[in-house]
Symmetry: C2
Subunit: 485 residues, 2 copies
């Protein structure tokens, strides 16, 4: 297959939002299609963004008492089958290794679609007594879940993620852990990625295969679709029973451990792309932008060039301890080309610096969140100015996304209203009786699914009771619906 | 298979050095065997060590102008076949995916044993002009090369590594790059891991499959075996021709790029274990020790405990900006147990702190490199004292290893001397005619291989000519032989 055909076949069937995602991811050089269908290549700019997300989250994971470890890529096929729901959920998505070292294997190996099984096997070796608990581990790893279509960052056969796996002496502690890590994910999303989320509980149909409860955070993208950005599972004793993971409690009794698992992935890069963009390209929040400030020197002849570049270097020295800064001093591109280039890449702050600015002891600043040009900013006190501006951009991107979410969250009271509203996307809040068949009915008719049973409803929705939008039966539970990636 | 049987079967056939490695890796909780033969689990302490190595090396990789990216785990089987030597070298070690998403695949996928092929496929899409060069990328990834026996960290079916891949406009620049990265590896090994290395060129029989030249660094372990700690390859245009990776040069001509690749892996953890240990356990160099200082509070009754722990906290506050420090305040273990525990784990510096020390305004320090006890070290000025001590320990561990290497490097002049000396291990320097058959002959008789043709011989070896130890023909080339892992 030629490269062009391959690309086209990977891009066909994409809807409008997906096309925009692909366009931005490719043009901003965040990712590219791989020759293997469903896989992607994360290019340096995309990977730098992942490193920023990683370092923010890794710090929070460690601050909450977890340690990193690394478990094998290969899982014996029999392991997957030990937990009935788990194998049903994951077997159809697995890549299977049948040959290794030139021979057919006695037992097939699946490539981890998630690591609960192999980790429980190890936990059962390591955990003996209540003194070994809680055991709080995390791993950064690649994961494989088969996809026929590639949606860069959002759905790919291989993706990068972290998966936390913990074991506890009792139910309460494990449940608290699952909620604590959901809160960490919410902080990551809102404070770093500047994406407001709805947090809540998944319905049975969307629950992780093998979990008792799946908690989630859901973001709303600019094309009106919801994106599941992170999940945290209370696993109860399901895997402990399957793998005989027991501990001796303080009374000397053998008990199964209670467990959690939780993960976020490179999908978060897709979330950033789809939550913050305009017709010029990406808009990266300063807290996770690999480059926060781009300096574009502006000059005509060689004499000017020298003066301008010298001043740029001075600026760099002043700012580099406080910011991730880059000077684009490439000769072969015009300033205009550079403006477009770095706007496409979503750099939060651009400094334009020419001879006139130098004479006047000022710089010109362009902020990417609003595309506003700030002329004649004094060089004196620039560091403080930029620190303030950077915070403002971070907050403003969150505010913009929050406004968008509020304006695109609609309460609906019946199936007719639902059908009308869902056409334009957004979150729909509606009463639901709790029956899987009603959820399925809505999905069949509208392609919308229940994103979560929220912990908290929007403030303007005081009504505590109503009628299920599908079956009209009494309901005390309002949920968030949306079309989702 | 039961867990015990599995462990035993994984451990059988290990020689003495390998047994020590397994014992230390398991007892210090660096790693454990996985249920899949040949694979291992990296436990939190081992992974923390890997994170330390990663952060040191990643900084140097970035400082030398490289960017991180991520390429897919899956490589189409046909890619491997495009470079004739490459497929011959790697196909027998590959794990092969034949089924995905519940279906048999049209084309089998191999799990990357190294990524030259898939990266060249992408390079050929990205590189068009000399302006796109040099292209300097690196990735941190997991790799699979089938092994029937597990030697924890040294040989495992799956391992973690970084692999650099670069493309250049000419031969000279590519060769300089390969050597530059070898130098980075040497710095990593000597300045961070405190392991002296011999650097040089691999013979044809040990060259990377697909390379023109393979450079390497070789360390000597305490059991007398050599360990290849890192390799850097000048690939010439071999992969460029196989994947049609071309650029338009400044004269408008299409040319194939010149390339390099280079990598180090979690094997370096094995090197640390085998280069620095004694009968008490590991000895970690301070520069990469996840915990540099362990504080053990010593007390009898509750009143003492409170005072001692308060003082420990004060120490922590003074030292924590400068050191990675931990207080072992666990009640269920005695000080003696803790001493053994942290010695096994190789913590460079231990501070013992009891009521008497507090009264006298001193601490007791035990350094792990020499196991020397430093009594009555004044608390006043302790930070400066410890900074100096830490540097001294780092340097001393290197010096110890360097002495060991010097004492175990022998010059031999003929096959008889070779056979006598090789029994006790160590590096043997000897003249070699350059013929593969002589190298093979020595290997068959002694199990020793040529580790490298060194850039520089030991200072005491001034003789520039001699006779090949195998065929006795004239030779102008002295090489390093050793038995190797």
């Amino acid at each position: 297959m030629s490269k062009t055909e391959n690309l086209e076949s990977q891009e066909k069937d994409l809807d409008q939002g997906e096309s925009l995602l692909a366009k931005l991811a490719l043009e901003a050089e965040l990712a590219d299609y791989s020759p293997v269908k469903g896989c992607m290549v994360i290019r340096p700019y995309g990977y730098a963004l992942w490193e920023m997300i990683q370092s923010s989250l890794d710090r929070m994971i460690k601050e909450t008492g977890h340690q990193n470890a690394y478990f094998p890529l290969f899982i014996p096929e029999s392991f997957l089958k030990k937990e009935a729901e788990h194998v049903e959920g994951f077997a159809p998505e697995c890549a299977v290794v049948t040959h290794g070292g030139g021979k057919e294997l006695e037992e097939k190996l699946v490539i981890r679609p998630t690591s609960e099984t192999i980790i429980n096997y190890m936990f059962s070796k390591w955990i003996h007594s209540y003194r070994d608990l809680p055991l709080l581990l995390n791993q950064w790893a690649n994961i494989v879940r088969w996809e026929m279509r590639t949606r860069l960052f959002l759905r790919t056969t291989e993706f990068l993620w972290q998966e936390g796996h913990t074991a506890h002496a009792n139910k309460e502690e494990a449940e608290a852990e699952a909620l604590k890590m959901l809160e960490v994910y919410k902080t990551l999303s809102e404070k770093f990625l500047a994406i407001p989320v709805i947090d809540g509980i998944k319905t049975d149909s969307q629950r992780f295969a093998g979990a008792i409860t799946t908690y989630c955070i859901e973001g709303l993208m600019k094309d009106g679709k919801a994106l599941q950005m992170g999940t945290s599972h209370y696993l109860g004793q399901n895997f402990a029973k399957a793998f005989d993971t027991k501990f001796q409690d303080q009374g000397g009794q053998l008990q199964y451990v209670y467990q959690t698992s939780w993960g976020v992935s490179t999908r978060l890069i897709g979330a950033i792309i789809m939550a913050h963009n305009d017709e010029k390209g990406l808009k990266l929040p300063p807290n996770i932008a690999p480059v926060q400030i781009i300096v574009v020197p502006i000059y005509k002849e060689a004499a000017e060039k020298e003066i301008v570049l010298k001043k740029c270097k001075e600026l760099e020295e002043t700012l580099q301890g406080s910011f991730r800064l880059k000077i684009d001093d490439r000769d072969q591109y015009s300033p205009g080309w550079k403006f477009n280039h770095w706007e496409l890449k979503g750099i939060p702050i651009r400094i334009n610096l020419g001879p006139k600015d130098i004479n006047n002891n000022v710089v010109e600043i362009v902020r990417r969140d609003t595309n506003e040009k700030l002329k004649n900013v004094p060089q004196n006190g620039l560091l403080q100015y930029l620190l303030k501006l950077s915070t403002e951009i971070q907050e403003n991107l969150f505010r913009q996304a929050k406004d968008f979410q509020s304006k695109n969250t609609f309460n609906v009271n019946n199936e007719k209203e639902f059908a009308e509203k869902i056409v334009n996307g957004g979150f729909l809040t509606a009463f639901w009786c709790g029956n899987n068949s009603c959820e399925e009915n809505i999905k069949q008719k509208t392609r919308a699914t229940i994103r979560c049973i929220p912990f908290k409803l929007p403030v303007d929705q005081s009504k505590k009771e109503g009628y299920c939008i599908s079956c009209n039966k009494d309901s005390k539970q309002k949920v968030f619906f949306a079309k989702a990636y």
